[in-house]
Symmetry: C2
Subunit: 235 residues, 2 copies
């Protein structure tokens, strides 16, 4: 993999000393000690980003929900979390010192309002689960973002993809949003490949073809790297 990569791509350490906060994977929201709500994110896209960023010299703090993946690069520090609330707490801790933040995790939007401390026993024919909104991590970090920070979000959409993604980009104060469409074959959850559209804050839109997630990670990092030079220095 490394050999192949270095054949076709010059070894690039353009991100040396860059501090990155990166989230990946799903979250798990407990219903009771046994049951939970989760989603089909495997973390592959986020972990590919972590590796590419580290290989290019960045120091990456990877805040990861439960996945089957592991990292091998010494430039990646992993913080394991389970719930959306834990992921938010970890992000708050690392965000102020990160020049680049990439929110690739599929965070639960809703979590059970109360968690049963004993396994819920079967009773009636129906069960009503009352869910409450989790904290919107991207929106909260977006409110704190300084001019010397750059933030990338992900959008997974099933319809009105472009319009929904653009609304998210502005609403959460992101600099770049990576749009995954569930309508694209071979893209997003569970696949080793992905097909993304990058939408910049300044309006530019780049649609890429279906690629290996590692190649997609390089595409994303290339576009981010070109933008980082425009950041205001930290006052």
């Amino acid at each position: 993999m490394l050999a192949m990569n270095s054949l076709f791509r010059p070894i690039n350490t353009d991100l040396t000393h860059l501090r990155v906060l990166l989230t990946a994977g799903p979250t798990q929201e407990a219903i009771d000690p046994v049951r939970y709500i989760s989603n089909h994110s495997t973390g592959k896209m986020g972990y590919a980003l972590a590796e590419v960023l580290a290989e290019r010299g960045a120091h990456v703090t990877l805040v990861s929900g439960p996945t089957q993946l592991t990292v091998g690069h010494p430039g990646i520090e992993v913080v394991q979390v389970k719930t959306a609330a834990q992921m938010y707490t970890a992000c708050l801790h690392y965000f102020p010192t990160a020049t680049l933040t990439i929110l690739a995790a599929a965070v639960a939007d809703y979590t059970p309002g109360t968690v049963a401390n004993k396994k819920i026993k079967k009773q009636g024919d129906t069960l009503t689960l009352e869910l409450v909104r989790t904290v919107d991590i991207a929106a909260r970090l977006g409110q704190q973002k300084r001019d010397d920070q750059y933030m990338v979000g992900f959008a997974l959409e099933t319809d009105n993809e472009l319009a929904n993604a653009q609304a998210k980009l502005i609403g959460k104060n992101l600099d770049l949003i990576v749009l995954n469409s569930l309508n694209d074959i071979g893209a997003a959850f569970g696949h080793d490949t992905n097909q993304v559209t990058l939408i910049h804050r300044h309006g530019a839109i780049h649609r890429f073809g279906l690629k290996d997630k590692r190649a997609v990670a390089h595409d994303i990092v290339d576009q981010v790297s070109a933008q980082l030079i425009h950041l205001q220095p930290h006052s």
Copy 2:
């Protein structure tokens, strides 16, 4: 593993020609194309049972929910399912020809009444999920069980463990129930060890110590094997 095993336990092929239906792992119940409800079962206990049964000569049909596990023994045929409904369909298919059925899967009791075909977008501060009961696989198979069939269930309880497990044993027409307590440290979900209590239809109760799940599998199979000789021949 095999070498260790044969040192301490004579090679036993007491189950040659026995046809076994075995379920393992969790189920995943879709909320929408992205989100689902599941549970913390890893499938380790069920897969350990499959291996031990196959090594002892049985032909095992393993109906498995989504797990990270694989099987290597040629005596194990794997049927992959995702939902409780799919697991029930698979069980109905294999049950009539199985002399021994072991239901070790952690099947969802409730599933969303309607599955959204598009990703549910964030709207209000709360979201109400209406869940409906899934088919009770053990109870349905118990109704069909013939005198030449033996059926084992599992109970995972957090309180009134013994009474709840005994009620399940009778209510579902099982011959043996394996009780896991969530109150035991190192037992049940996610662990490599387990601590079980076996409750027989005829009243006997055996409480075992904390052991490797493979050793627990042998304990269960030993007790079942001793009972199979009492079955009525298929008329």
